[in-house]
Symmetry: C2
Subunit: 192 residues, 2 copies
DNA sequence: CACAATCATTGTCATAAGACAAAGTTTTAA
DNA sequence: TTAAAACTTTGTCTTATGACAATGATTGTG
């Protein structure tokens, strides 16, 4: 846990220009938590009130579509931040689930505390703004990839740009991230 | 043009809590421009250095995929803001084209002036942050829609949520926004 | 206005991907 | 440890969509 806190501090240090004492104070506003695989952190139908930092493990953000299939929006591996973004922003009922895809060690801060911190430490807001920018760039890239590429090319794209996903994440979840069924992914992998 | 400037001011007023005199000063940093249909504002291969407000008409952001097909990322109708976001953020060479999809009246501000304005009028930054949040929410929604829905349902979704696009925008461009060929879109429309 | 260019529609055919099912494998939990 | 559950792979069949082409409509331009 000591190590975990210093990980969080490092993350804040690298994404803001806050001084060490402020970084320490801010890090302490986050609550450390160990969560088992498949723990549900945010649920469809509820309003998202938390922001997460992943120190170890992996969280997964997904929706369930009309046909009952999971559609993965995002994986957050260690040293990244995540939340059920759309609901976190709009404060409307979420369509998303956020779960631990592996046993994970995470830090949680309430949305209220998160935004209040911006008042005390304005520089901290830049972390959120960078997160939003990065999240947008990633999301827009996926739009282009899904619209412009066939399954096999989407697979190759992930192999090249997010190879961790293929080694760590279950095929089923990767398929739901690539916008295909698990049987299709399996056949495409066999073709490579 | 008088009217156009007041439109820009109105937009700033509604998306920040700036006072009137600051709003006027900021609006004057934007340059008014009339552009013909198909005018290229930002080009693939270049770094995006501008931010746009659409007073009248419509801008379209798109990429060209491997096969040479256009893939539309976003339409910006009147009273909305747009740029080649990914390049604007990363300041790397853009993959995107930004063009006038109709004869349009727009306001342009350079990226430098835009960010400098944040220093003089910190509250103005909230407009950019809201833009980022909104852009993310929209983009993420599209990811879910494309991954979870078939063509016919994507079409119905746009009919319900962005009906303007179907009345104003060419079928070809709408198809490239929906992730299908124009012939497929045409057949789906016939099926409705 | 008239010609050219672009776009929209529709048809045929080919193909990528989904649905479903069966068998083998791995993970989970009692 | 062992049984149950979940996941992965592979096969067959079906279907949605793409590729390509022809025709007709619309738009832009000299």
């Amino acid at each position: 846990m000591e190590k975990a806190y210093s990980q969080l501090q490092k993350f804040i240090r690298e994404n803001t220009s806050l001084c060490e004492s402020d970084i320490e104070k801010i890090a302490l506003l986050f609550k450390f938590k160990k969560v088992k695989r498949n723990t549900m952190l945010e649920k469809e139908g509820q309003v998202c009130k938390h922001f997460y930092f992943v120190a170890k493990g992996c969280l997964r953000l997904y929706e369930i579509d009309k046909k009952g299939n999971e559609v993965t929006g995002k994986f957050a591996l260690e040293n990244s931040i995540i939340t059920a973004v759309t609901s976190f922003i709009t404060q409307k009922k979420s369509m998303d689930f956020l779960t631990a895809h592996e046993h994970s060690e995470i830090f949680v801060i309430s949305r209220d505390d998160f935004f209040k911190t911006f008042e005390t430490f304005p520089e901290f807001a830049s972390l959120y703004h960078k997160f939003m920018e990065w999240a947008f760039v990633h999301s827009q890239m996926r739009v282009y990839i899904f619209l412009g590429m066939e399954g096999i090319d989407r697979l190759k794209w992930v192999m090249e740009h997010e190879p961790d996903l293929l080694t760590r994440i279950s095929s089923k979840a990767v398929a739901s991230y690539l916008g295909m069924t698990n049987s299709t992914l399996s056949k495409l992998k066999a073709k490579l």
